[in-house]
Symmetry: D2
Subunit: 335 residues, 4 copies
């Protein structure tokens, strides 16, 4: 199922080269001021354009098809569409029989019996994250004044991100990176003791972003090498403020009011401008494939705003659950 969330429920749909990609946001409280222009800044961050990102150019103008009336959310589901225009599907034809390594070409064929839309990666395309970013824009407004902020802190193993990307482009190769996300002002008490721990929900949604292969909260993997006496965050106020934040703002699966902090590992872009070995599915012989198409040398550059969206969506859902966001944001008089 392509849905996430219990009360603030996000569903994405569409294919890279179909008529559109889109998102349905169900459970958004009524009365939230919202304008198509509110999406521009986050969508621009996700969009291509930087060196090291794909040459595909989409305007990414959201069409809000429902759930909005007189510039406010109505409480009914919001359907938001992004038309696909800059589409060139021919480049993808060869991958139906010579699947690209590191891509979903082969598993998509196998899972859907060959009926998947292979063009541009179809429903596996990173383009579907436009919908998640749009949902994130709405979620970010709901959780105000909490601010979820993510940045790319490392690319190809280097903290000089620009430099690392430049070298990868030169080498006709690709790199990955590490994204850090922080949210301040998160209330105490979000998350459930076991199956819906804050870590469970955040990781669930973050791992829905294509290319994410790791996540750690607070001290994370490094923390597994510390002693308890050093790792434990000493509580310094009755509200629960701690001296250190090795737990990343979560104890026992529940937010503790300190900064929420996690790091995400993004693998290198699978498509590279080199011939790569693969198998010819017709003949069973080994052969080469070149991922022509238009791709990012480092799609990790585009990931931070998507991680922020994931973080905001989880927080909005949990805050609705804990009744920290009302179901109706204001109430109108009879008019």
């Amino acid at each position: 199922m392509n849905s996430f969330g219990r009360l603030f429920r996000v569903t994405i749909f569409g294919e890279s080269h179909g008529p559109c990609v889109g998102v349905l946001v169900d459970g958004c409280p009524a009365g939230l001021p919202l304008d198509p222009s509110d999406f521009a800044s986050d969508l621009a961050r996700r969009m291509s354009g930087l060196p090291g990102t794909t040459a595909r150019r989409e305007t990414d103008t959201p069409s809000i098809m429902s759930g909005l009336f007189e510039a406010r959310t109505t409480g009914a589901p919001l359907a938001i569409l992004f038309e696909n225009r800059d589409v060139d599907s021919n480049a993808y034809e060869p991958f139906r029989k010579t699947p690209r390594p590191g891509q979903a070409d082969l598993v998509a064929f196998q899972k859907f019996g060959g009926f998947n839309d292979h063009r541009g990666g179809g429903t596996f395309s990173g383009r579907l994250t436009a919908g998640l970013v749009a949902a994130g824009v709405i979620a970010k407004r709901l959780i105000r004044p909490i601010l979820a902020e993510a940045t790319l802190v490392e690319a190809g193993g280097s903290t000089d991100v620009e430099d690392a990307v430049g070298e990868a482009v030169k080498a006709h190769d690709s790199i990955g990176g590490i994204v850090e996300c922080r949210a301040r002002g998160v209330p105490v008490g979000l998350g459930e003791p076991f199956f819906n721990s804050a870590e469970s929900l955040l990781s669930h949604l973050v791992f829905s972003i294509p290319g994410i292969k790791g996540i750690e909260f607070g001290a994370g993997f490094g923390g597994s090498r510390m002693r308890g006496s050093a790792y434990n965050d000493i509580i310094v106020s009755t509200e629960g403020k701690t001296e250190t934040n090795n737990a990343g703002g979560i104890n026992g699966g529940i937010t503790n009011g300190n900064e929420l902090f996690f790091r995400v590992a993004v693998r290198p872009t699978a498509s590279i401008a080199q011939n790569q070995l693969t198998i010819d599915l017709n003949t069973g012989l080994r052969g080469e494939v070149m991922a022509a198409g238009r791709h990012d040398a480092c799609f990790a550059l585009r990931v931070p705003v998507i991680v922020e969206a994931a973080c905001a969506v989880v927080l909005a859902d949990l805050m609705l659950l804990e009744q920290k966001i009302p179901r109706v944001l204001e109430v109108k008089e009879w008019t």
Copy 2:
């Protein structure tokens, strides 16, 4: 909500010092042979007993209260209880006003308005993982011949686990560790492109285990520092077998038929036999607390079997979804 899974649905309940902990498994196909003794081996692995694990001794004999008839599952929900016997709640009284650092004492109080059962950590206790392990025993049978195997490969930063635990005990301190999990024979096609990617579901359930703070699939964080040309796993058969396995057996969120592989970071045990600073909730003054009770110096020792259970539960759920496990395992003649 304390439930996980779409078709194979697991719900855990109970408190550390209440009458019992337990699990409800809904959606298990009918006709699976099952006997209380089948749980013994995995429960023993989870149980205390090793040096570095708690002195609490529970027999952990499962009482199967429903869903089993004539030694086979009936298709109705299985309710399984574990009585709590070796309970000593007095040690926990002080933590109601001087919360232990690194524990859920304070967030539990805040989230549940002070009505939480604080004794032995209440519903936050690692003891509830007995239920998850029991669900795992059932799931493991369903996914046969797939084998999910997890091991502790590192404790306190050292691969000599025994040694590291010994030193921690000597120092009245605690350590964490890293657990690796592998599953061979996983069919192609489990997981969904976005919100229910295989990584999303596995991480969701793994992060429900208390004390887990990181997860990575395949090359994980290390992979974020590789170039695409080295990271991409070259496909060598039409079924999708690859030369390397940097993706950990998952492409585009879908299992690709190679070994499923992930690593999990376990933080050091929060309770240590040292005085630690904290805040007195009555006075607002800083003070000390010692986590008396009975605890593990390295509860990571007990985590592998729980991670296996989580892995098996996710696989069972996804295999039911993909109709790779039937709803009735055999059919009886009229008798």
Copy 3:
């Protein structure tokens, strides 16, 4: 799946002649005062004992296994068990090959491949409604001061219920009946426009009660024969009070603040003390079966308290969703 509810989530389990039947209530707010004795009155109404009801005698004492501490709900799941004691399974052996008409004997065998627990109807038994009634007791407390009240208004087509039951017993036959349920003080705004309309949710849960074959809201089937000018309930206050209540308190799937009112059709008890024709599953020949066991001549007598429970559970779930019930009912000071 044996669960219902989005925020106040009820799961029932157990078999008629297994060790117990039970219920798991997840999502109950913390801080609700609750004592095992609180269940006595509603469970007594559900229990056998009246003329026209089964001779099976169970004490129906609830064992609360989790989620309760110091006489208050903790916010963790409540597991409640009812031991089965007065069990006589031999009477049910013949029905494995000569299924009783009107019962689930045959479909249970077919659905679960013969692995179902057939004794006393197994998981299809009306005995499982004990768990629903117990959940209803909790829900009723949560929705206070709203009162859901159901009564049997007709049995075997007669309003003289006692008389009708007596005649059915005399005739070694069984009868059904009609139950009316009313709830006053329901807030405006519960339910969703389409798939989770108030009628959808109420009917969903009411039809989970064994033997229910019809439901109508307000004027119901009779209303389908009225003209709109007579049917429409005229609004007489700005809060939405109406002159008549043909809509049964629900407009467009949303409660409108007037009395919630619906009627439920209960079929006659399937088991009767007469020989009935059926098929012998071994031979394929027609034969007779007599539903020995112990049964109600009119189990509709026991249905009102179960319908009340269903109504209260739906209202509690919707009121939590609309934030009309808080997640924590009170807040304790540090103690």
Copy 4:
């Protein structure tokens, strides 16, 4: 939430006078042949046009935005839109302060704090059933050769439907009716013993259709007046065929292989071409309102195809759950 179904999941959205209404169908197996023209016949049945139905004229041409490739479903979500063109919103302005009796005008305002789109009933409009009908078209193909057929058997209390509608139109009034639905060839074993009984799921979805106020299965309310000896359906074959069908094809919540049969009560259209009393929300004084707009004198005429859709959606979902429909309908060779 505006979603229904566990594996075949339908979400509807849109407003009567917004840019479109639509439906998202998630979980449809891959490989189903589908063409926009396949929707024409059912949508025509739902559409206006008959005497006694609204003058609003929409072409109801479905735009399939995703999930379809090379004339087959891909396994990804299908988003289907219906543009709104023939819109005249002015007529609805008065109802913001003088709510129409029998409509959702007032509850919509109250539930959504006044931010609801009131035009044409907004998200409460019967126009949203276009999406349900479209989902039904897909579901009907999946459940083949099972045929769900519904007909209006009574209007305004008369079996001469045409006549009854004519009289209502003449009287500037409206009528309701009764719809019967039958499905032959339903496999044994659909539904769950309790909370997801076949009756629970069917009634849940049927009551999401605006204006439905009652449902009964098999003998229904009439059956509650029969004796058990007459009501019980005698089994005449080892497969479970019965002589009579008072149970409507469902025992113990599980389909028994006989004809599925239920009846639905449709209330008279709320909007009538007469002045009706109501309250002025500004002044609190009583006043009159005339539901101008364009409406059906008997919208029950349009209900049968929607009930069929509801029935087919439930059956498709349950058949996927029981693995009676595969996840991929055919498998392509590598091409």
